[in-house]
Each structure stands twice: as C-alpha cells, then as structure tokens.
C-alpha cells in the first residue's frame, strides 16, 4: 500500500509567506504526491509564486471563500482523479512545515489505523521556537481551548498524543474519513472549522492525535482561522467570530429537544454575557456578542444541516469525548495563570501613590480643618440657601423623577428634557437619602479636602516629591475660585472644582485601564453637566489626549460617551429652537453676580473684589485698588514664576501641556463670561466663569509643580513658597467664610412661604405664581408647583429660552391681568392653571443700590391690584414676599395643566437610554474582572531605551527623576 498524499495549499496573497511555504513544501523528506494550490481570491496574482513552487494543479476561486470551502473545492478535484486510501494535507500560505513534517505525520497515521486525523505542532512564524498551538479541546460548556499557547518549546508537551482536536494548519486527514464527514461545516467559516471536523471524526469512532516532531510555522495571516492582528478592530472581529462559532456549535451538538430552548435563550444569554464582558473590562466585545447571537439565531437552516451531517457519520456517543474535554480544575488553573501573567504586565506600570505616607493624608486633614472652621456659620444646617443654592427635592424619588424628560418648573406648561445636572443632583441627593438637601451641606463641608485630595492624586501621578504633592493639594484646595464658589453659593461650580482633579487623575490612568477610562467618562459627564461651558475646553484637552496617546486611543475615544448621552436631548432641543449658545448655560437657578474684569479673572477670581482683598485693604485704609491689586499680583506671580520655570526644565513638555491647559481654562472663563444667555427676569446674566478658572488653577498648579521639580531634591523650598503664597491669597476669603459674610446661609429647606408648603404637602400640584418686579418697571412671572423650586428641578432650557409660545403668552397674560385692575377676569385663568397662590417677591435689587423708582412703582401697582382683586385672599407678608391665595384652585385643574401622560414616550426613552449608558459605564468602571493582556504577548517586558529621549507618552508616569 502506497498512500498518496495531496497537499492542499490555500493562499490569498503571494509574497514572503507563500514563497517560504512553497520552498518548505518542496524540501520535504517525504514530498506530497500532489500539490493543489487554491488561489482563494487573489485573482491570478499568485501566478509567479505558484510557478516557483510548481504545483500540480492551481484552482482559482471566484472570490474569497472560507478555508473549508476552498479545501472542499480542491478535495473534489482530487476525488475525480484518484481512488483509494489517500491523504489530504491542509496548508495555507503561511504554513511553512519543517522538512520532516509530512513524513512524521504520515508515520503517525500509518502506525495506528484508528487514527484518522493528525496535526503538527504549530509554531510562531517570528519565533519558531515558540508553540502557537498544539491540539485543541473543549470545556464542559463547549468553549474551544487551545491546549498550549505561547510557550517556549522545550519538549514539555511531547508526551501528549490523543487530543480532542487539532487546528486546521498542517492537518493531515484520511481522504475517506474526510468524505464521510462531508468536509468542514460551512456554518463555521472561520473559527472552529477544524475543531468541528475533528469532533465529528471522533464521534464517528476515529481518533485524533498530535505529532510532536512535525512542526508547521503559522503567521496568523487569516487564511486559516481569524486574522491574529493586534489591532482593536481585528480583536473585536475575532472575539465575535469565536463567540459565533461557540454558539453555533452549541446548537449543532445539543440534544434535539433542547435546540429550541437554546434558541430562545440566545437573547438573554447575550445580555448577561454583555454585562459580564463590561465587568471583565472588555467593552469592545459587547457589540460582537449581540451580532453573534443574531447571526446564530438567523442561521437555523444551516444548523439543521450540520446536525444532519453529524448524525449521519456518528457511531458513538458524546461520552466518548468526555475524557478529552478540559476539566474544570485545569481550566481554573489555566485562568489563574493567565491572570497572574497579565497582572505582572499591568502592575509593572502602576505606581503606588502612598497616600498616607506621602503627605496626602496630611493635606486632606489640613484642608478638612480649614473646612470645618469656614463652615462654622452653617453649623447644624439641614439645608442651604442663598446664592444659587436651592434645596433638593424633599424625597429621593422626586429627585430621581426630575431626570430624563418631563414638565419643567417656572414655565406654565413646558415639556422639555432635563439638564444632565439633574442626574448629578439625583446622585448627590442619594448620598443622604433620608434628606437629599443635606447632601449640599455635606458638599460644602467636604469640598475643600476632596478638591485638595484630588489635586494631590494628580500630582502624585506625576512626581514622587512629597513637598510638591502637598503644595498641589493645598493650592488647589484653597484656590480662590473654589472659595468664592462656596462664598457665593454656587453648587455647580463647587462640584466642578471638586471633580476636575479626579477627572484628570482618572484620565492619566485611562491608557492603562478600562476601569480608569470609564471612571474618567463618568467624571467627564459630571463635570460637563455642572458646567456645560467648560465642555469646550475639556473636549480640546480630550482631543489632544486622543492625538497624543497613540495605541491606547480606544480607551480615550470612549470618554465623552456618557456626556454625549446625557446632553443629546438638551442639545437637540436647543438646536431646534435656534438657541445653540443656550446649551452652554450653567445649570441651576440664574443668579447675577459682580462680574470681574479681565485682569481679575487672569489672577484667578471669577467675581470682582479680588476675593476680599479690596475690602481688606480698604479696611486698613490703604489705597484700595492699587494695594489689593499689588498684593494679589505678587502672590499669584509666585505661582506663575514657578510654572514658567518648568518651561526651562530639561523636559519642558509637561510644563508646556499644563500651562496650555491653564491658558485654555482662562480662555474658557473669559469667553464664557461674555455669553449672557440665561435670564433672571429681564436680565441676561453672564455665565459663571469659575469653572474655567478651576481648570486654569489646576493647570497652573501642575505647571508650578513641574517648575519646582527642576530643583529635584531642593524642590521643597519652592513648594513652601508656593504653599505660603496660596495660603496668604486665601486669607480674606477664608475670613469672609468664617464670619459668614457669604451669601450662603442655613435654610429651612423651603423656598416658598410655609403656608404654601403646608398646602403643597396635601396637594403637590398646587401652583404658585411668583411675580418679581424688575428694575425697568416690568414684572417677571414664573410658576412653580408643589413645595417650590428645587435645584434638581431647574432647567437651563427654561432659563435660556427666548421664543414665545402659547404657554409663555398665557403666563404673560395671566401675570399682566393680576397686576392690573379688573381682577374678575383673572379668575378663570387662575382656576384653569390650578394656581392656588400668588407671591409678590421683593423687587430686583430691593435691598441694594440697584433699586429703581420704576421697580418701586410697579411693586405698588402689582400689590394694589392683587389687594383689590376680590377673588384673592391676602395672606400677608412672608419670608419670601407678599402672599395671596386663590381658594378656587383645585388639584384636578392643576393635574390637567401638566398631565403625566403627555410626557410619554419620550420620558421612558430618554430615561432608559441615559440610565443604560450610565449603568454600563459604571459596570466598566467597577474595579472588577480579571486583568487581561488583550491578546498581546505577555512574556517579554519592553527593553528600556537607555540612550534615547524620554518616551513621548507624556501622560504616562513620573519622569523627572529618571533623568538624574
């Protein structure tokens, strides 16, 4: 018996791999009797290479077809020409066999007739002494497992012979068996084709073995199996194909009765697996998971064919395969080994921060003490008021129901999406679920230490010097913009300042970890929700990171996704209402402020007065402006000088980037303060510039820290100078907070008179019309329902809207009528809109110099009209203004104005999409799941380039000490 071997070589492209393969083929000690070259989609361009190898036959496929199909085409021509006990040897363009490969394989088949398929040891093309694959098996659940991957071949696996399956590369199969099995399953075009073939061979009573002496190189060109490229797209495709094949085989191998159940389970299984993938920090595979499930769900005819084919050849039961499956224990052992390896790679890059031993704890404690002292006036507060502070909704359910989409407060009947800020407020309120408003008191208490700790962490990622880290923490924690935001009662600005360093800390780690990337994404969304105007600057920083990051770009690209999901409804509404600048408006109530001049902003102050220095020098009776300006200028100049010193260091890139961020922040502040898009009554109020200044101070502090590090061991001294400078700068502001000169005060947690709140607790829809006389003699009119305005109810869409719709006109007419004599006509409108109370708030600037006689006369007018209105009952003077009640209002009417049914379906759609994106991001952000090396080779650490310049990866780790 002289068996004939036909080598079937499938190629898609000529070149190095193919010619090497052909050469190796020609050099076989036992050459194949025939070589069939399948030109799989190169459209004749293989001609030259093919000539060189002198194949016996060249089959040109019409296009790119799966490997199995190409083999089938070749095998069919073989079958036409030969009869008898032949062998088929499957090769691809990148499968160069060693000289004795065929001889050994053939030998293995000849000695044991029960063996139908043998496979060689597959070696890596670049590193021929490393095993790429050596036998395949399945877990109990049907997952394909390669027995050996990425191991140096020291003969350690040469004792293995019987395996469940072998890879297609270099696989030698008896031709009759191939015929019997019907070749590769077309339902498994890329992955698991050989595995499936081997499994069916085993079920038909044959054996499959590996041959240690036969070696075939493999380059992973993608002719056999998927492309093994490391690009994200290739990794995603590979994951999808593997999963598709897994699901497909699952249905093909399953007992007949369970196929239907498996089919129904496809959807739920993919959902659960998607969540698992997120927790496992492989978010890029989620899309493929669903595609795989869909593909399998719609390939049932193919599954049936496969099941029929399997049944036809099957002679033995699945029990025969059981011993060859990978046991649970060995699977667990393999996984733990993998994890160990991956951790080694990741941990190598992680720098422990030493929070306790490196000044972090002390910085935080110092700031906490200052925070306690500054909050003395707020001692015992259950809620805060003043400035832009309002209470939160009284119950957690109400706070969460403000998110998404719904009827908005202040306007008469206006349906709009909620600000992303509503999510921030709902989350913040959940911290103190028993009294959501108390969360703001808590925020006021922890703002200083939290911001300082954040800046400390950012600096700790960049330097080991304790002095510099402490300087950064203290300087950022005492930044004027934070103290002024606390002083003026700007919760959104405080949140921005607190979250910004954490965002940058997470961003610095994002290239290394999906978890950090997702945390950065959540913080990005939160910061932009609190200060949409800062979004422009942050997007520029983000874009710069994407450009500079290089290969980890995927983890940066995903950062804005939650912010986009939260902002999309608002952006769409603003664009359609022709008010695109409105989307930059600050969230929360619109509160005017004493706008700082440009030079004051350049010194870091969002409001005029140089953070109390004017008052202080005025009190000491110095030349007010000059002295205050000079003092602040000198103190800020210390930081600026340190920052500029960084530019002259040996590695100025970091200082340059930090200064760039600082200037970006300043530009953002200067730019936003020119935008007056939100209204308080008649007044268009500029955006709060503090958010931009927070970014500017963070950038300046990091730059100054870089400048200090120039002195290396002596950086302690400039750090002390810088800390002293920021400490002195903050003195008047801290003093102001301590004596309670700020606008913030402990509040009762209600914004409407107690009389209204009492009614609203029974009838949560009762409307209150609030009239505020304006400086020009006009009257601002808003409507709130229930217990009054809360921070989470406020909507920038309402605050910025300019067009007049039916609702606005109706509200204007109602307000105009109650402000004029002839009150009888107002009664139907009050009843229709369910307005139970009318509150005449103090006129704009009633307590300051801005009070005009026009405002006074219109106040008198409105008051007289309301007094004279026989359908109203005067209640009297309350803490919020003069109050009248309209006893004819009913809950039924109020409910009819803002029917909950009309918010659907948008409320559900927007809420579900946003909560889904947030939860998914949160799943990725959770520090869970096994660290994975992302299919990369793990073993060799990259050799350190001693001679070269520093790596351009400026976002990575500390550099200032390595140059010593």
């Amino acid at each position: 018996m002289n068996p004939k071997v036909t080598a079937i070589l499938v190629a898609r492209a000529g070149g190095e791999h193919l010619s090497q393969t052909l050469v190796a083929l020609a050099a076989q000690t036992r050459p194949p009797d025939a070589v069939v070259l399948v030109d799989n989609g190169s459209r004749g361009r293989l001609a030259i290479s093919a000539e060189a190898g002198q194949p016996d036959k060249v089959i040109t496929m019409p296009g790119v077809v799966p490997f199995g199909e190409a083999v089938e085409a070749a095998a069919r021509t073989v079958a036409l020409e030969r009869e008898g006990d032949d062998f088929l040897w499957l090769l691809a363009q990148d499968s160069a066999p060693n000289e004795r490969a065929l001889e050994r394989l053939l030998g293995a088949l000849e000695v044991s007739p029960s063996v139908a398929i043998v496979g060689p040891k597959q070696m890596e093309w670049d590193r021929p002494d490393y095993i790429a694959e050596y036998g395949l098996t399945m877990t109990r659940r049907g997952r394909t497992v390669s027995l050996v991957t990425d191991e140096l071949d020291q003969g350690q696996h040469d004792d293995v012979s019987d395996v469940m399956a072998v890879g297609a590369n270099g696989l030698l199969i008896r031709e009759p068996v191939y015929r019997l099995l019907g070749g590769c399953d077309p339902g498994l075009p890329v992955v698991d084709d050989a595995l499936d073939l081997c499994v069916r061979a085993r079920l038909a009573g044959h054996r499959v073995t590996v041959v240690p002496d036969a070696r075939v190189l493999t380059a992973g060109d993608g002719v056999i199996g998927p492309n093994m490229s490391l690009k994200l797209r290739a990794r995603q495709r590979r994951a999808r194909l593997i999963r598709t094949a897994e699901l497909y085989r699952g249905m093909a191998y399953a007992p007949a009765f369970s196929v239907m159940w498996l089919w129904f389970a496809l959807g739920p299984r993919s959902v659960f697996r998607a969540i698992w993938l997120l927790l496992a920090k492989r978010p890029y595979e989620v899309g493929g998971e669903f595609r795989a499930a869909l593909a399998v769900a719609f390939s049932q005819p193919s599954v049936s064919r496969s099941r029929a084919q399997l049944a036809r050849a099957r002679t033995t039961g699945w029990w025969a395969l059981a011993p060859l499956r990978m046991s649970r224990e060995s699977m667990r052992r393999r996984q733990s080994l993998e994890r160990e390896n991956a951790r080694l790679v990741l941990e190598g890059a992680r720098r422990p921060l030493h929070f306790l031993s490196s000044g972090g704890a002390w910085t935080t404690i110092a700031l906490a003490i200052i925070s306690v002292v500054t909050n003395i006036p707020l001692l015992g507060a259950q809620a805060l008021g003043g400035g832009a502070l309002l209470p939160l909704s009284s119950s957690l359910g109400d706070a969460w129901s403000q998110t998404g989409y719904g009827w908005r407060s202040l306007a008469l009947a206006q349906l709009d999406p909620a600000d992303p800020f509503a999510w921030v407020m709902a989350l913040l309120g959940s911290v103190t679920w028993w009294n959501p408003s108390f969360a703001l008191v808590l925020l006021w208490c922890v703002a200083l230490p939290l911001a300082g700790a954040g800046a400390w962490v950012v600096m700790a990622r960049l330097t080991d010097r304790v002095g510099i880290r402490v300087f950064a923490g203290l300087a950022y924690g005492l930044a004027p913009t934070l103290l002024i935001a606390l002083h003026d009662g700007r919760p959104a600005a405080v949140l921005v300042h607190v979250l910004l360093p954490w965002l940058f800390a997470a961003g610095l780690r994002a290239p290394r970890s999906w978890s950090a990337s997702a945390i950065a994404a959540l913080l990005f969304a939160a910061v932009v929700a609190c200060a949409p105007s800062l979004g422009v600057a942050l997007l520029i920083v983000w874009f710069g990171s994407v450009v500079l990051t290089g290969r980890y770009v995927g983890r940066f690209l995903a950062i804005p996704i939650p912010a986009v999901a939260l902002f999309a409804p608002v952006v769409v509404v603003q664009l359609f209402s022709g008010n695109p600048l409105g989307m930059l408006a600050d969230p929360g109530p619109v509160v005017p402020f004493a706008q700082a001049s440009r030079w004051e902003m350049a010194l870091g102050y969002p409001t005029s007065g140089l953070g109390g220095w004017f008052d202080l020098t005025g009190a000491i009776n110095w030349g007010v402006t000059i002295a205050a300006g000079l003092i602040v200028l000198v103190l800020v100049a210390v930081l600026v000088a340190l920052a500029v010193a960084g530019l002259f260091s040996a590695h100025p890139v970091r200082a340059q980037l930090a200064l760039f961020v600082a200037l970006l922040g300043l530009a953002s502040a200067v730019g936003t303060v020119g935008l007056r898009v939100a209204f308080e009554g008649q007044t268009a109020v500029p955006l709060w510039p503090g958010a931009g200044l927070s970014l500017a101070s963070l950038g300046l502090i990091v730059a100054a820290g870089t400048g200090m590090s120039v002195l290396r061991r002596f950086s302690f001294y400039p750090a002390i100078a810088g800390t002293l400078a920021v400490g002195l700068l903050a003195v008047p502001l801290i003093g102001g907070l301590v004596v309670g000169s700020g606008f913030v005060h402990a509040s009762t947690g209600r914004t409407l008179p107690a009389y209204v709140v009492a009614t609203a607790s029974r009838d949560p829809l009762v409307g209150t019309l609030i009239l505020t006389p304006q400086a020009n003699g006009g009257v601002a009119a808003v409507i709130v329902r229930g217990q009054g305005m809360t921070l989470d109810q406020s909507s920038s869409l309402i605050n910025t809207s300019v067009g007049s719709g039916d609702g606005q006109r109706a509200l204007a007419h109602l307000a105009g009528d109650v402000s004029s004599t002839g009150g009888q006509q107002t009664e139907p409108a009050l009843k229709q809109y369910g307005i139970g109370y009318i509150l005449l708030a103090p006129a704009v600037g009633a307590t300051s110099a801005g009070f005009t006689s026009d405002a006074a006369s219109v106040t008198t007018r409105v008051r007289s009209s309301l007094d004279a209105n026989p359908s109203l009952i005067p209640i009297g003077d309350t803490d919020a203004g003069l109050l009248w009640s309209y006893p004819g209002a009913s809950t039924v009417d109020a409910a009819a104005v803002n029917p909950p049914s009309e918010t659907q379906p948008w409320r559900s759609i927007i809420f579900s999409v946003q909560i889904l994106v947030l939860i998914l991001t949160m799943l990725v952000a959770l520090p869970t799941g096994p660290p994975r090396a992302d299919g990369r080779r793990v073993a060799e650490p990259v050799a350190f380039d001693d001679e070269g310049f520093e790596p351009v990866d400026v976002l990575a780790g500390d550099l200032d000490d390595e140059a010593v």
Binding site: A411, L412, N579, L581, R598, W599, A602, V644, L647, F648, S649, P652, A655, Q656, L663, L666, A667, V670, G674, L675, R676, F679, G681, Q682, A684, Q774, N776, G777, G778, V779, A780, A781, V782, N799, T800, S801, V802, S804, L811, A812, H813, A815, G816, D817, S819, S820, T821, G822, G823, Q825, S857, T860, R863, S864, D867, A868, P870, D946, E947, F949
Partner: protein, 565 residues
C-alpha cells in the same frame, strides 16, 4: 542618559542650555501673549434678549372719588369728636367714550346728612368695546364760616394703597383733618405714618384704622401728631384701597384765614415736579426775608425725607420767563423742612425738586386778602370767552344751592369754550374761537352771604406725576382757572387742547420750560400730549387760591411688561 552622553564637551552643554532657554523663552512669551490677549483684546460676546410681552390689561371699571364737602369740627359731649360739613361743593365731571354715574359714599363721621357733602364716587363700568374710556372730575368749594373760609378745589382721584400727603399743620389755630374714603368692596386696614420737623411721629392709633367698604372716615391729624407744624402724612392700606385727602384750615386770631384740600402727591423720588405755584405778594415777603420759614404766613416749599439718609435738596423754580431760580438746602433724614422761595417775582412757577435721596415735596402759596393778583399785573389774564358763564359756573359756596349730580355730569356744550391763551413771554397765538367778552367767572369775593370777617387764603400745590396722551380737564367755577404745563424733557412738546371735540389750538411747551393757559370756568377740555408733561389747574382771586393737580390715569389699568419663563 541623554545629557550624560552629550555633555561631554562644554560646547555641546552650552548649546543644550541655549536651546532649552530658547524653548523656555518662547513658551513663556507665548503664554504671556495669550494672557495679554485675553486681558486686553475685546472678545466677541453674546447677550440674549429676554422674552417679554407687553400686556394691556382688560379694561376694568373706573372709579374716581371726590373727597366730599369741607367739614368743621363739632365738639360733642364726651370725648368723641365729630365733624359736620360746612356746605356742599360743586362737582364738575367729564367722560370720554363712556357714561358715568355719581353716587355718594357713606360718611358716618360727617354729621351733616346731605349726600352731596359726602364723598362722591364717579363710576364708569368696564367697557365692552376695546376702547379705553376716560373719566375725570373735580370739586370746588368756597365756604365762609367763622372757622372755615377760603377756596378749596381738588381733583377726584382713584383709590390707592399708598398715598403721600404733604401739607397741613396741627399747631394751635390750625386744623388738619384726614379724609379716608374707601370705595372698594372690602374693608381697608389703614396705617398712617407722620413725618414732621421733629422727625417721625409714632403715636397710638396710627395703625389698624379700619375703613368700612364704601364709606369715609375722618381723622383729626392732631390726635396722631399734635403740635406738628410741618407734617407729611403717609397713608398705606391693605385690603381695600382708599383715597386720602387732607383738609387744612387756619384761624388766626378768631378770623378764618384760608382752607385747603390737599390731594395725594407723587411718591418719594429723587426728582419731583410741582407745577402751577401761583405766588403773590412776594414783595412783602422779601421785606422779611430771612432764609428761614418761621410762620405759615410765608410761602414755602415743604420737603420731607422718608429715608434714613440725609438729602441734599435743590429746588429750581421755573417761571414762564426769566432764568430759573435755585434754592439749595440739606434736609436731615426722617425730617420735614420748609424752604423759602427766595427772590421771586409774583407769578406762576413750576418747581423741580431734585435730591440725593428720595423725598416728597409740596409748595404752599399765600393769598393775602389785601392783594389782588390780577390788579396790577400788566399781563392779567383776559380770557375771551365765547359764552357768558352759565349759572352752573357760579361759585357754590352757599349750602343751599346744591345741585343734582346729573346736572353736573352732562357735557352739554353750554359751558364756555377755552377763551384765550395767556402766554406771558411766550409766543403761542391767542385763539378766540367764539369772540366775546371777558369772563371773570364770578370769581373775586367769597359769596357767603352771611360773611363773617374774612382773612386770606393759602394754596397747597403738590408734586404731580406726568400725564401723557389724552387727559380730561374739568374746570370748576372757581375764579381765574389757569392751566400750567411744565415740560421736564429735553425736547419741546406741542400740546393740543380741544373742547367738546373742537380743537382749539396747540400750545408748544419748550424743553425744560413752562406755559400757562387761562381756562374758562366751568368748562371741560381734552388735552393731548405726545410726551410726558406735568400739569395742574390753579385758581386765584383776591384773598383766594387753590390748585388742582392733573394726574395720569391709574397705572393699574395701563400696559405692563411681563417677562414670563
């Protein structure tokens, strides 16, 4: 590392430091340039305009209140003080595009039961059409009893929650009564705050004064602020609104020396205008000019500062000709001070009071019984009336000659037309639509038949709010009615005056200037102005004087700008 390798030679080290410094300098320069750019160069901004709606309210019922007849104090048995009317005033009303009805309010404090002596409500229902109707009214009375004698003319006004009354005195011989008329359907809870030369006066009974719906209460100011020579009364009400009026009468050494009804004036402001102050006998005043007002025989400007900061007050007197005369003084916070007029000739003046703090002000002019303001003046007004004054235009001081409201409210065209424009120093053409003899309107002497010895009179002119558009003017039969127009603006204003739809003539009031127009007693006019104008009608004769401010229609019915969200 890198620099160890190449810092072998001094030159390369020098080069390295040079490059590093250059890069640093460039970086610092760029940073400085950007900061400078952001600080100096104006960046484009964007200011959105708040949505606003001008809401013209649905026209409502219109209701004017004339305070009713002058009263005398009747001391009854016991502690209670009661009052009785000394006669019935003459009421002149006018309406445009509507019909009015006149009814009397309850006057429980007024012992005389005559309805016409009670406050009169002039009512026009809310119109059905989209036309804003106007109504106007005034009342005039010239009693001559042993306690109350003189001429008192005042306008019928709308009720308000907040009124400032500048005038009165509670010194010996001076009687000042506060009329509170509540025309609304709900009770008014009134609080009275009095400022005086001694500061704010707080006394019992100044708050919680209840005025029942559709009725009037009379309160003696002396009970709230005894011995105040310069009171300023601030009346505020909650619930219903009231019309507050002061009646001041003076008796000097047993002789009545004038009576006056003081209408509410403009609210505290840093700029007030008092139009139509007719000064006479100034030459006698110059003799005892001391710079201080020592008695209420002297003409004076009463200025009160309701705030908590001292005010520096500048009073500028504009005549129809000649340069404005300025008086400047400091008024302490919370006090009322009377300022002298300075060296002014006899004539009609408009006063502009400007102040560093909001103030209230009014002017008191004296009408000496011995001085006939028209006797010596070369520019004595000679209205060329077309018709002889009707009997209705006669003085109505006799209590017996009361009229029915119906007869008064008609506008039957039988009253005399606007006769002529007295344009002292001005150039407005005289118009004589009818051509006829001068009418003195029966002015001159009080016609109380049982006249006791009669002294002079005094006149309070209050600060007014500017009028705009159409204003109805009702002239009573009191002597020598004169319209004073003052233009506080920077451009001259042409005012059209018509009578019964017949346009008479236009008067051009120069910027920051004043014009006077003599009117015919008992006539009704419509004045049309395209810009804001201060106006009043003054009456004068020998020993008689009165001033009636022309007020704009209530702001409560005017358009209001609403900023809805």
């Amino acid at each position: 590392m890198f620099w160890r390798v190449i810092s072998m030679t001094k030159r390369s080290s020098f080069l390295r430091y040079g490059l590093r410094s250059a890069a640093g300098l460039v970086g610092a320069g760029i940073a400085a340039a950007v900061v400078g750019f952001l600080c100096i160069v104006p960046l484009p901004g964007f200011t959105a305009t708040a949505r606003s709606e001008l809401i013209t309210p649905t026209p409502a019922d219109q209701r004017l209140i004339c305070p009713g007849g002058l009263v005398d104090v009747m001391t009854m048995a016991g502690d209670a003080t009661s009052f009785a009317a000394v006669g019935v005033p003459e009421y002149v009303t006018a309406a445009q595009d509507t019909e009015i009805t006149q009814t009397a309010l309850q006057a429980p404090d007024n012992a005389m039961g005559n309805d016409l002596a009670a406050p009169q409500q002039i009512f026009a229902p809310a119109p059905t059409a989209d036309v804003t109707p106007r109504i106007a009214g005034s009342q005039s009375q010239q009693p001559a009893t042993e306690n109350v004698a003189g001429l008192a003319v005042t306008a019928c006004v709308e009720a308000a929650t907040d009124s400032w009354l500048v005038g009165g005195s509670t010194e010996t011989g001076r009687t000042t009564l506060l009329f509170l008329s509540n025309p609304t359907l709900v009770a008014a809870n009134v609080t009275i705050a009095v400022l005086s030369e001694k500061g704010p006066i707080t006394g019992p009974g100044s708050s919680g004064i209840l005025v029942e719906p559709s009725s009037q209460r009379i309160i003696s100011l002396a009970s709230l602020a005894p011995n105040a020579s310069n009171p300023v009364v601030h009346v505020t009400s909650t619930g219903g609104q009231v019309v507050a009026t002061l009646q001041q009468s003076v008796v000097r050494t047993l002789l009545p020396d004038g009576v006056e009804l003081v209408a509410p004036g403009a609210a505290p402001n840093v700029r007030l205008v008092i139009p139509g102050v007719r000064l006479s006998g100034m030459s006698a005043q110059h003799a005892n000019e001391g710079g201080m007002i020592t008695s209420d025989l002297q003409p004076a400007i009463r200025v009160g500062v309701p705030g908590v900061k001292d005010a520096v007050v500048t009073v500028t007197a504009f005549g129809v000709s000649g340069d404005p005369v300025v008086v400047k003084s400091k008024v302490p916070a919370g006090r009322v001070v009377e300022l002298p007029f300075g060296n002014l000739e006899d004539g009609i003046y408009s006063l502009v009071v400007s102040s560093t703090q909001p103030v209230v002000a009014a002017a008191r002019a004296m009408n000496d019984a011995s001085i006939d303001p028209f006797a010596t003046s070369t520019a004595a007004p000679t209205p060329l009336g077309s018709a002889t004054p009707k009997p209705t235009a006669k003085p109505t001081s006799q209590p017996t000659t009361s009229r029915t409201p119906g007869a008064l409210s008609g506008f039957d065209g039988r009253t005399s037309a606007l006769a002529a424009f007295d344009d002292i120093g001005g150039d407005a053409p005289a118009v004589n639509p009818g051509g006829g003899s001068p009418s003195d309107g029966g002015a001159g002497s009080p016609s109380g038949s049982d006249a006791v010895g009669v002294g002079g009179d005094f006149t309070w002119s209050v600060a007014t709010m500017p009028v705009l558009g159409d204003t109805l003017i009702t002239v009573t039969s009191a002597p020598h009615p004169t319209l004073t127009l003052f233009n506080a603006g920077e451009a001259s204003i042409t005012v059209g005056i018509s009578q019964e739809g017949t346009s008479l003539s236009d008067v051009t009031v120069p910027a920051n200037g004043m014009r006077t127009v003599p009117l015919v007693a008992g006539a009704r006019y419509v004045m049309t102005s395209t810009a804001q104008l201060y106006a009043s009608v003054s009456y004068a004769a020998q020993g008689l004087g009165a001033n009636m401010p022309l007020s704009p229609a209530s702001p409560l019915g005017s358009g209001v700008i609403i900023y809805p969200r």
